[in-house]
């Protein structure tokens, strides 16, 4: 049974087309089975025999002559696509619509990052990097790699294609009221990998929390930012709106209940004091007072609850 399987797969093994696990299994079997080893030897020998029919490289003369003949023909040939492109093609239009969200996202990212998106390809030969050239050769050399998107090997060769994003640093100056500056700050608050930069942008944004976009960005930072310092900053900016904006109150309650950092929770608790009479806040406080693991928060919640007028 096993030998049968090996015999079925030995050709793929010779052509290096077996998946790793199957190859391992086959090699394990070969180590024990002399019949199958002989079969492999014979398959390899036959493979080598077939390679006796050489694959000739086309001679430079042939290449040159072919190119010239083609060039002559191209001069008198019209591309078929020109008129077709003028005609409305519902299929192509649907394809474009299908990709519209992706396209919009791409334009958005390009607009904000001012330079992300040039895809570079690195071609390696024999394991080493042989040459790196940008997709558009006019891009500056100082661009730096920000992330690898995909790595794939060109089948049948040792060429590797690596797609990666690059960023070239650009500078924007302007007042805090400048719309472009605000947009960059919002982008930084949401997307930057460097928590220091996020901290700075959130800090600057807290100076204008009247703007609804800014407030949303601060709520987003409070909910999702991985850095507690950034979350605290966002809390500070939002504190003043806890009374007027129910979304802010909800975000603070969420932070109070589930933030991983006790400092952030404590700060949220203090900021929620002005609205402690709200039913949602009261419910949360009661739960905290009953069974919160953090002793300080438990006590604070109790204190706040005791200050509230009793309901029936």
């Amino acid at each position: 049974m096993k030998c049968e399987w090996v015999k079925e797969n030995i050709l793929l093994y010779v052509y290096n087309e077996l998946p790793d696990d199957a190859r391992y299994e086959l090699e394990q079997h070969l180590a024990r089975c002399s019949d199958c080893t002989a079969e492999l030897k014979s398959a390899r020998k036959f493979n080598a025999l077939l390679s006796e029919l050489p694959v000739e490289e086309p001679s430079p003369n042939l290449v040159a002559a072919s190119r010239m003949r083609l060039q002559e023909a191209l001069e008198t040939t019209q591309q078929g696509g020109f008129w077709q492109r003028l005609v409305f093609d519902p299929g192509a239009w649907l394809r474009q619509v299908r990709f519209a969200p992706a396209l919009a996202a791409a334009i958005f990212i390009v607009g904000f990052a001012c330079g992300i998106g040039a895809t570079y390809k690195v071609v390696t030969s024999g394991g080493g990097v042989s040459s790196v050239t940008s997709g558009a050769a006019s891009h500056p050399a100082e661009s730096s790699v920000t992330g690898i998107q995909s790595i794939s090997q060109e089948p049948g060769s040792n060429q590797v294609t690596i797609k990666y994003d690059t960023v070239s640093t650009q500078e924007a100056q302007g007042s805090l009221n400048d719309e472009r500056i605000q947009q960059l700050l919002l982008f930084a608050a949401r997307n930057n990998y460097n928590s220091g930069v996020r901290m700075d942008s959130v800090d600057l944004l807290t100076q204008q929390p009247n703007d609804t976009h800014v407030r949303e960005a601060l709520i987003g930072a409070l909910r999702y930012d991985s850095n507690p310092g950034v979350r605290l900053k966002a809390l500070d900016g939002l504190g003043a709106y806890v009374k007027s904006d129910p979304r802010v109150r909800d975000a603070l309650l969420e932070a109070l209940m589930s933030d991983s950092n006790p400092g952030v929770r404590t700060e949220a608790l203090h900021l929620l004091e002005p609205v402690r009479a709200d039913s949602s806040v009261r419910a949360v406080l009661q739960r905290l007072a009953e069974k919160d693991q953090n002793q300080y928060i438990k006590e604070q919640a109790r204190t706040l609850l005791s200050q509230l007028p009793e309901f029936d």
């Binding site: 087309e17 036959f46 077939l50 000739e56 490289e57 072919s66 083609l70 591309q79 696509g81 089948p155």
Partner: protein, 235 residues
């Protein structure tokens, strides 16, 4: 964007690469032919998308640059399949003219490499089918069969050196293999050619021939079985 604006970076990129190749050749640190080929190939991959877009806008220079990235591989494949420089040149011409006419319809759903191979293999398959019909109609025809391996006989085999006896044996061997390959169906021949002689992975072979990897695998099995049968006495 003006069409001309894109052409400049290609020229710059190519220039700088070739420049570096020349320097490396001069310093003797690299094998110049393989290095040049490498640069040419890497350049091919890098510029393909831009070049294809340019060609789609009707830029003939960009299309000719694309041709240069693939034409040696196309000739190599066509020559090995047809056994004749002349026929290979015809396939080359027809394939790239076809590509030029329909490049505007190329939607980047596969790589340009796959697309161009698809055109070439279709033409080669047509060629093989025609040849098979000709053979069936006139089984004792001497002219077409006699013509098939003239390339091999004309091209001196560099490996054999000054040993005429070995040279002769090699040619005989190559002739027998060639005849065994001819007995395969056009599709079996094509799968075997692409995998064995041109090193394409079965997945790519499937893509090129518009079929699945599994089918390509089975076809390769069948082809190998038949070849083993035909060349049984040589093993």
């Amino acid at each position: 964007m003006p069409a001309g604006a894109w052409v400049v970076p290609f020229a710059v990129g190519e220039g700088s690469l070739r420049e570096r190749d020349r320097r490396e050749e001069a310093s003797g640190t690299q094998d110049p032919t393989s290095r040049g080929l490498m640069a040419e190939r890497s350049l091919g991959r890098i510029d393909d998308t831009l070049l294809v877009r340019e060609a789609q806008r009707g830029n003939r220079v960009a299309f000719e640059e694309l041709v240069r990235h693939y034409d040696q591989a196309v000739l190599r494949l066509a020559m090995h399949l047809t056994g004749s420089e002349h026929e290979a040149q015809d396939i080359y011409q027809e394939a790239f003219l076809k590509a030029y006419k329909s490049v505007a319809n190329f939607r980047f759903e596969c790589s340009f490499y796959t697309w161009i191979y698809r055109i070439v293999t279709n033409l080669c398959l047509d060629h093989l089918r025609k040849k098979q019909v000709r053979k069936e109609e006139a089984p004792v025809a001497t002219d077409p069969t006699g013509e098939q391996y003239d390339v091999l006989e004309q091209v001196p085999d560099g490996r054999s050196g000054a040993n005429p006896e070995r040279d002769l044996m090699r040619r005989e061997l190559a002739g027998r293999i060639g005849r065994a390959l001819e007995k395969l169906t056009p599709r079996e021949r094509m799968v075997f050619e692409l995998r064995h002689y041109h090193g394409l992975k079965l997945r790519t072979v499937g893509e090129v021939l518009n079929t699945t990897e599994e089918t390509a695998k089975n076809t390769l099995f069948r082809a190998t079985q038949k070849l083993r049968g035909a060349l049984a006495d040589m093993r």
